[in-house]
C-alpha cells in the first residue's frame, strides 16, 4: 500500500505542471489566454460603455422626479434633429475644432521642421523638453492660467492695449486660443516624429534636381509627413470636440456640445438626452476617421 501510494505520487504531476504542459503543446490556447484580459477590458470598458450610451439614448426621464424610465422612444433624437439649438451648437463646435486644428498644424509644421532638420541636437533637446513641459501641468491649471491671461486686467490686455487692440476676453476666440495652446504638443510630436524619419538626402536630391525650397516641401516632404499631420489633427480635432471645461472657464457665455451633454447630466438630470447628444461627436469622429482612411494616411500610422 505504502509503495502504491508513493508510486501514485510520483506519477501524478502537480496541477501547475499539468497546466504548463498543456499550454506548451497548445500555442493557440496560450495566445487566447494571454489576450483574454486586455480584450475583456476593451470589450467592457470601450465597447460596452459605447453600447450603453446608445441604448440609454432611447430612454426617457420623468421630468419631475428625475427617475430614468427605460423603454424605446425616439423623442431624444427627434429633439436633436428638429431643435435648432443642437444644430447651431454642433456647427459651432465643429467650427472651433477645425479652427483649432488648422492653427495648431500651421504652428506645429515649422516648429517640427526646425527641430527635426535644422536644430543642433542640443537645441532639439531643449525644444523637445519645452514642448513637453506644459504637459506636466494639469489641464485645469492651464485653463485657469489662460482665464487670468485673458482677463480684463490680465497680460493679454496689458500687452495689446498699447497697440490699440484688446484682449479677446472670455469668448469663443479666447476658448479657441486656449484650446490651441492645450493641444499644441499633441500636434507637434507626431509631425516631428514623421519628419525625423524623412532622410535628409531626399531634400538634397530634390534640390540638386532643381526643385525650389517650396516645391521640395510640397512634393517631397508633405506626402511623407501627411500621416503625422493626420495623426496630430485627430488629436486636436477629437479633443476639442469633446471639451466642455475650457469653454466653461474662458468661453464666456458660449456653449459647445460638451456643455450640452454636461448640462443634461448635471443640470437637467436628463441622462438619456445627454447620451443622445454625446453620440453626435462620436458620429462626427467616425466620419472624420473614415474620410482620413480613404486618403490612405492611416496605413502608415
Amino acid at each position: 500500500m505504502v509503495n502504491a501510494v508513493g508510486k501514485a505520487e510520483v506519477e501524478r504531476p502537480s496541477l501547475a505542471h499539468r497546466i504548463s504542459t498543456t499550454l506548451y503543446s497548445k500555442p493557440k490556447l496560450r495566445l487566447r489566454l494571454l489576450l483574454s484580459a486586455p480584450v475583456t477590458w476593451l470589450g467592457l470598458v470601450y465597447i460596452a460603455a459605447l453600447l450603453a450610451l446608445l441604448v440609454t439614448a432611447f430612454f426617457t426621464v420623468d421630468s419631475f422626479t428625475g427617475e430614468i424610465k427605460p423603454g424605446f422612444s425616439l423623442q431624444n433624437f427627434t429633439d436633436l434633429f428638429t431643435n435648432s439649438l443642437y444644430s447651431t451648437v454642433t456647427l459651432r463646435t465643429i467650427g472651433i475644432a477645425l479652427g483649432v486644428t488648422i492653427v495648431d498644424v500651421l504652428i506645429a509644421l515649422p516648429i517640427a521642421f526646425y527641430m527635426a532638420k535644422i536644430a543642433s541636437p542640443r537645441t532639439r533637446g531643449i525644444l523637445l523638453i519645452s514642448i513637453l513641459m506644459p504637459l506636466w501641468a494639469s489641464y485645469l491649471v492651464k485653463a485657469y492660467a489662460w482665464r487670468s491671461v485673458l482677463s480684463n486686467v490680465g497680460i493679454a490686455a496689458w500687452l495689446l492695449r498699447p497697440i490699440g487692440l484688446d484682449t479677446p476676453g472670455y469668448s469663443l476666440l479666447g476658448a479657441g486660443i486656449t484650446l490651441g495652446y492645450l493641444w499644441l504638443p499633441y500636434v507637434i510630436l507626431p509631425i516631428y516624429a514623421s519628419l525625423e524619419k524623412v532622410p535628409s538626402n531626399l531634400l538634397e536630391a530634390s534640390s540638386d534636381l532643381g526643385a525650389k525650397t517650396f516645391t521640395t516641401l510640397r512634393k517631397v516632404v508633405f506626402p511623407l509627413i501627411l500621416p503625422g499631420i493626420v495623426a496630430g489633427s485627430i488629436f486636436s480635432f477629437s479633443l476639442t470636440l469633446g471639451d466642455y471645461i475650457t469653454i466653461n472657464i474662458v468661453g464666456g457665455a458660449s456653449q459647445m456640445l460638451g456643455n450640452l451633454v454636461y448640462g443634461n447630466v448635471g443640470v437637467a438630470n436628463n441622462l438619456p438626452m445627454a447620451a443622445a447628444i454625446a453620440l453626435v461627436p462620436v458620429v462626427i469622429m467616425f466620419g472624420y476617421l473614415t474620410a482620413v482612411r480613404k486618403t490612405g494616411a492611416l496605413d502608415n500610422l
Binding site: S63, G169, V267
Partner: protein, 386 residues
C-alpha cells in the same frame, strides 16, 4: 508550500468579502426613526457653499468642529452650485443629509430619495419660526421631510466704480443691460427664468404673471425673449460661485445676480455693493433632509438638531448671508444681523418668491391653462444660452 499559498488566497478572499459586506450593512430603508441610536462616527453632508464651515476657508468660521467634538460624528461636506447639481449628486446615495432649496426638496421627496422626519427627536425644533414649519416645500401629505435652515433673497450685486447711478431695479441687467455689454452676469440655471418672470410681473403687467414659477406657454415665451435679449450683454453665466467671485474681483463682471456669500468672499479692495431691487427678488428657503439610503441616520439627525440650535444656526446663516431659521439665533449673530436679513419679518418674507419646482399644474391656482414644467424650463434655458 503550494497548499499554503492557496490557503492564503482563500483567507484574503474571505477578508475582502467580509469587508465588502461591512460596507453594505447600512441604511434603515427610508423608514422614519423612532428613537436615536448610537452615533455612527461619520456623516456625509451635501449643501450650498458655506453651509458647513470647518475653519478651512477662514479659521474664524467654524461650526463643524464643535459638532464633531460634541457628538463624535466626523463630518465630510460637499458643496454644490445649483439645485439640479444637488439632485444628481444626492441620487448617488453617498450622502446622509442634504440642505436643499424649495426647487429641489419636492423632487427629492417625490423620487423617494429622502425619509420622513421624526421632529420629536430634534430638541431644537420647537425654537424654529412657525412660518417656516410644515410648508409646501418641506411637508407632503402631512409628513415632514425637512427642517428649515434659513431663507434669503437672490440679490443684485454691482461694481460701485463702474455702475452708476447705483441701481435700484433689475432693469440694469435686463432692459438697460446694453450699457454694460459683456460685463453682465446671470445665474446659470433654468430657475433663473423666474427672475425674468419676476421682472415682467412689474414691467409687463399685461402678461398677468402672478407667480414667477407658474408660467403658461405665452408667459414663458415672454420671459425667454427677455433672457435672449439679456444674453447679448452677458459676459458669462455663473453657477460656480468661485468663478463669480473671481470675475467680480478682476472687473470682468460688473453687475448681476448674486448671493450675499459671494459678496462676503470678494477681495477687500473690490468696490462692490449688493441691493435688494424694488421689484423684489427670487429667493430660497432651505431645508435639511435625511437620505432614505442614509448610512449614518443617527449622526444625520444629530446634525439636523445641531444646525437649528441658535448658536450654530446663527453662525451658518450669517456666514451665507440669509435669515436664520430660529429667532433665538439673533442674539448670537453680530449686531443687526437679524435686522439686515429681515429675520422673522413675515411681511418681507411674503414678498420673496422662494425657488419652487414649476409643474404642469399651475402653482398660482389657475386651472384654465397648463403651465410649463421644469423640463420645459430646462430646454428653454438651453435655448437662451444658444
Amino acid at each position: 508550500m503550494q497548499k499554503k499559498a492557496t490557503f492564503k488566497l482563500l483567507a484574503l478572499g474571505a477578508v475582502a468579502v467580509l469587508a465588502l459586506s461591512g460596507c453594505s450593512a447600512a441604511g434603515n430603508g427610508g423608514q422614519m426613526l423612532d428613537k436615536l441610536g448610537d452615533p455612527e462616527k461619520t456623516v456625509s453632508l451635501l449643501g450650498w457653499p458655506g453651509y458647513a464651515e470647518d475653519g478651512s476657508t477662514d479659521p474664524a468660521y467654524d461650526w463643524v468642529t464643535p459638532f464633531e467634538t460634541e457628538t463624535g460624528c466626523d463630518v465630510t461636506f460637499k458643496s454644490y452650485g445649483t439645485s439640479d447639481e444637488a439632485i444628481s449628486l444626492f441620487k448617488t446615495g453617498d450622502y446622509d443629509a442634504i440642505a436643499a432649496s424649495g426647487d429641489a426638496t419636492l423632487r427629492l421627496i417625490a423620487a423617494g430619495d429622502v425619509q420622513p422626519l421624526n421632529t420629536s427627536l430634534l430638541q431644537n425644533y420647537d425654537g424654529v419660526y412657525d412660518f417656516l414649519k410644515d410648508r409646501d416645500f418641506n411637508t407632503v401629505d402631512g409628513k415632514n421631510y425637512g427642517v428649515p435652515h434659513g431663507y434669503g433673497a437672490n440679490l443684485l450685486m454691482y461694481n460701485t466704480e463702474e455702475v452708476s447711478p447705483a441701481p435700484t431695479s433689475w432693469s440694469v441687467v435686463f432692459d438697460g443691460a446694453s450699457e454694460y455689454k459683456g460685463k453682465v452676469t446671470a445665474y446659470d440655471s433654468p430657475i433663473y427664468i423666474a427672475d425674468a418672470a419676476l421682472y415682467l410681473m412689474t414691467h409687463s403687467p399685461e402678461l398677468n404673471i402672478t407667480n414667477p414659477y407658474a408660467l403658461d406657454e405665452d408667459q414663458l415665451a415672454a420671459a425667454v425673449e427677455l433672457l435672449k435679449a439679456q444674453r447679448e450683454n452677458v459676459g458669462e453665466y455663473w453657477s460656480d460661485y468661485l468663478k463669480a467671485i473671481q470675475a467680480f474681483d478682476t472687473g470682468d463682471t460688473v453687475v448681476g445676480t448674486t448671493w450675499q456669500v459671494i459678496k462676503n468672499y470678494l477681495a477687500a479692495d473690490t468696490p462692490a455693493a449688493v441691493v435688494l431691487p424694488e421689484e423684489g427678488a427670487t429667493g430660497w428657503s432651505d431645508s435639511w433632509m435625511v437620505s432614505s439610503k442614509a448610512k449614518s441616520p443617527n449622526c444625520a439627525y444629530l446634525w439636523l438638531d445641531y444646525i437649528i440650535s441658535p448658536q450654530a444656526n446663527a453662525a451658518a446663516t450669517e456666514y451665507f448671508g440669509e435669515a436664520p431659521a430660529t429667532p433665538d439665533a439673533c442674539q448670537y449673530g453680530s449686531e443687526g444681523f437679524c435686522e439686515t436679513y429681515n429675520a422673522g419679518d413675515t411681511e418681507f418674507e411674503s414678498q420673496l418668491w422662494y425657488w419652487t419646482t414649476p409643474t404642469e399644474k399651475c402653482l398660482d391656482g389657475r386651472t384654465d391653462v397648463k403651465c410649463t414644467d421644469y423640463a420645459k424650463w430646462t430646454t428653454a434655458w438651453q435655448e437662451v444660452k444658444g
